[in-house]
Symmetry: C2
Subunit: 446 residues, 2 copies
């Protein structure tokens, strides 16, 4: 653009937005511009009434009878079927259950065993190597809990977790690698992997893939079948707006689903859970990735988040969501460059649409402006939050910068919100408001 | 008693009941006598408002800021501290999290490793046996999901699950046994183990104990420290009234808690979860038994159930609850014998108070009265439910009878309820009401 972008320009974009009606499905607190839907999505308007119905009617009044009358036992499958079309999975291939970490343990356990079985079958001859794929490869910058879960599994089974930078993934895929475990969209930078290309690389090397869709499901196009992926997990409380700590989901390609009974073999994954037989017999398909009794109230709340996605289908579905998401992040980056130039913001999110998720992160480390125990990036986020612009801060590690992180959820964000957010940021930077003592106290949990 | 017990006798007992005010803490649907609190506890009156607060205020309005302002991250510990005094644990030793099955996997993994470490340390000499305790002993009649989880772990680690009858437990404790895994109160019969005596037997044999308190916590006296137990897990949605599928809990004796990082090593169990370092470092104590992000709405509902137990403390605590529970089950058994004699009811629950949980089960299999595909016991339960008396049915296995099962929760049940329940049963049996076709349809999920 040659002329500066105005608030009116943004309002025009909002007026033309084919998805603008979806905002009405959510409760957004007054005075808040919420750019943290990649951490905890906002509340759908339908959720309070639905949760109240589950609590007072299904539980309080119908009590134990609701296992039948409200089909509580099938909730993981019904919600999984609502998630499936948004990640390129088919009906019956996804369940909503447990936490992302727990589900990762399940699929990682399965993938290691299956990778070694496949290798046995395909080895050069009877003297060829067997069960010798002992390595899980992941990115050093993967979300830590994914690495922790892999470490726990490695410690149990004498495996090795090898952490590499994104560019070194192809070279890391040696014949010893069982599984490549990646998060599709990086939680810090918003950088997105090419799932199909990387999966093909892994398969060519005889390894399987485990994809964490925590920052992808409902945010960017995902086609697990087209990518020929093997296993996937994801989060219910970020872009899916399922509520704090909402149950997660798990997908397994049908070619693997019946090959292995994952070790968290609880009764909900039994072929006949109400037969109460002493021997475990895994259910066919994805149901065997269930374990224990699920938190029904939280599961029901997740359903309200998924219902909004149902409403997005006739408005263009993921293609429309993606188009708006990129327009929002493009606008944010453009306005940062136009209105916050000269303050030393360093954008960490790829400019290439094919490599960008639905968030924008940038570093802010002005030289000579240290205020003591906290980073300027942290202080800027605190100052923005005080103004009602909610993003978040992710501290850098030894090899990475402190980042300000902003999520852009096309379901409920307006272009006008982007304009105001950048204007607040501009004021925080130009007035050095972020240097105030109250924004520079020791980090609390965020 | 020599003269028949009357309804008025029961009403007198209610008038004298020091716990009678606790019933006011619950919403009980009209026309229902609920004897299934051992399967799904009833709803505390405080729950709908508390859940609404979490949904609309903490989530909907405060959004991501509630991780700090509402201390969501500490909920597992805070709820654990409310559970602790009811199971003989200390503050800081219990967390409420995940499902019973998942928690069992954690403690079973830990117990096997620790049992073998201890054995190494204590072996006769350097040439003594090491890491050769490969057996998990459990009861054949244990709740199936416990057996399934043990089977999943055994398959992963080349261990063996040995199932025995209760009477054969002492003889089963050979030097190869790593862990004795028992449910304290049997889910079918209500038979209760002597936790201290059996734990002592296990320890004498060099094995550790894992106790499932699903049918004990909040229902019978449990003193884990006095029993010198090693590990325990339990359920939030039965006697604790936490709501459908409420998160479970886990306790580890402090002598073991820091000895092992359980394999489900997610970020909530990290010593510094918000440092986001790539390496897992387990938190000290019970916090390392946390894994992924927890379902906050369901956790908050569990808190309301536990608050009622707080209210029970000044009324006499567990001693008073136990006294009433035994009085309720004694009355039920007595009325069955007095009013339902001659119908072939065979009580499966021990008459000895020291061996009885807070439920009564009995078989009903009248000869020559088969009505086809379903059992008479199932049909009787269906007929009772139609009358508003809610108990449940547990089908027998090859070596066990079909049972009618009735839970007696001293927090909200009245002696009068027991009288009416038996009267309904008497009518169902004497009029053969249970033979009606609608009570003899193929079993649905219950």
């Amino acid at each position: 653009m040659t002329t500066p972008t105005t608030l009116q320009d943004c309002q025009t974009l909002d007026a033309q937005d084919p998805l603008r009606s979806l905002r009405d499905h959510f409760t957004l607190p007054a005075g808040v511009i919420y750019l943290d839907g990649n951490s905890l999505g906002v509340m759908p308007k339908a959720t309070p009434a639905r949760v109240a119905e589950v609590v007072t009617q299904e539980w309080g009044t119908d009590l134990i009878r609701s296992w039948n009358s409200a089909s509580w036992f099938d909730l993981p499958q019904r919600l999984g079927n609502q998630i499936a079309p948004w990640i390129g999975a088919n009906t019956g291939e996804v369940v909503a259950t447990d936490s992302t970490s727990i589900n990762l343990f399940k699929v990682l356990s399965a993938s290691i065993l299956i990778a070694n079985q496949a290798h046995q079958d395909c080895s050069e001859g009877q003297n060829g190597p067997k069960n010798n794929r002992k390595i899980i490869v992941s990115e050093r910058s993967n979300f830590p809990t994914d690495l922790y879960i892999a470490q726990g599994l490695c410690a149990q089974h004498g495996l090795q977790l090898q952490l590499v930078d994104a560019g070194d993934i192809p070279a890391s895929l040696t014949p010893e690698v069982a599984v490549l475990m990646l998060t599709h969209v990086n939680y810090r930078t918003g950088a997105m992997h090419d799932m199909a290309a990387i999966t093909a690389l892994a398969h060519a090397a005889g390894a399987l893939t485990v994809w964490d869709l925590a920052h992808s499901a409902g945010a960017v196009p995902v086609d697990l079948h087209a990518a020929n992926a093997d296993f996937a997990i994801g989060c219910g409380y970020k872009y899916l707006n399922g509520g704090p700590g909402a149950p997660a989901f798990v997908w397994v390609h049908p070619r693997h689903a019946d090959a292995f009974a994952q070790p968290l073999s609880g009764w909900w994954g039994h072929a006949a859970p109400f037969a109460f037989t002493p021997d475990y017999r895994p259910a066919p398909g994805i149901a065997r990735y269930l374990c224990g009794t699920q938190p029904i109230i939280s599961l029901a709340a997740l359903g309200c988040g998924l219902d909004v996605f149902d409403a997005a289908k006739p408005l263009g579905g993921m293609a429309a969501l993606r188009q708006k998401s990129l327009a929002l992040t493009d606008l944010f980056i453009h306005l940062l460059e136009e209105r916050c130039a000269g303050h030393g913001l360093a954008i960490a999110t790829p400019s290439d649409h094919n490599q960008r998720g639905s968030q924008v992160s940038f570093a802010y480390a002005p030289s000579g402006q240290s205020t003591g125990t906290t980073s300027p990036a942290f202080a800027v986020i605190q100052a923005l939050i005080a103004r009602g612009v909610i993003g978040d801060y992710r501290a850098g590690q030894a090899d990475s910068a402190h980042l300000l992180r902003f999520g852009f959820t096309p379901l409920y964000l307006r272009f006008e919100d982007v304009w105001h957010a950048v204007e607040h940021l501009r004021q925080v930077l130009t007035t050095a408001e972020w240097k105030r003592p109250e924004f520079n106290q020791a980090h609390a949990v965020t």
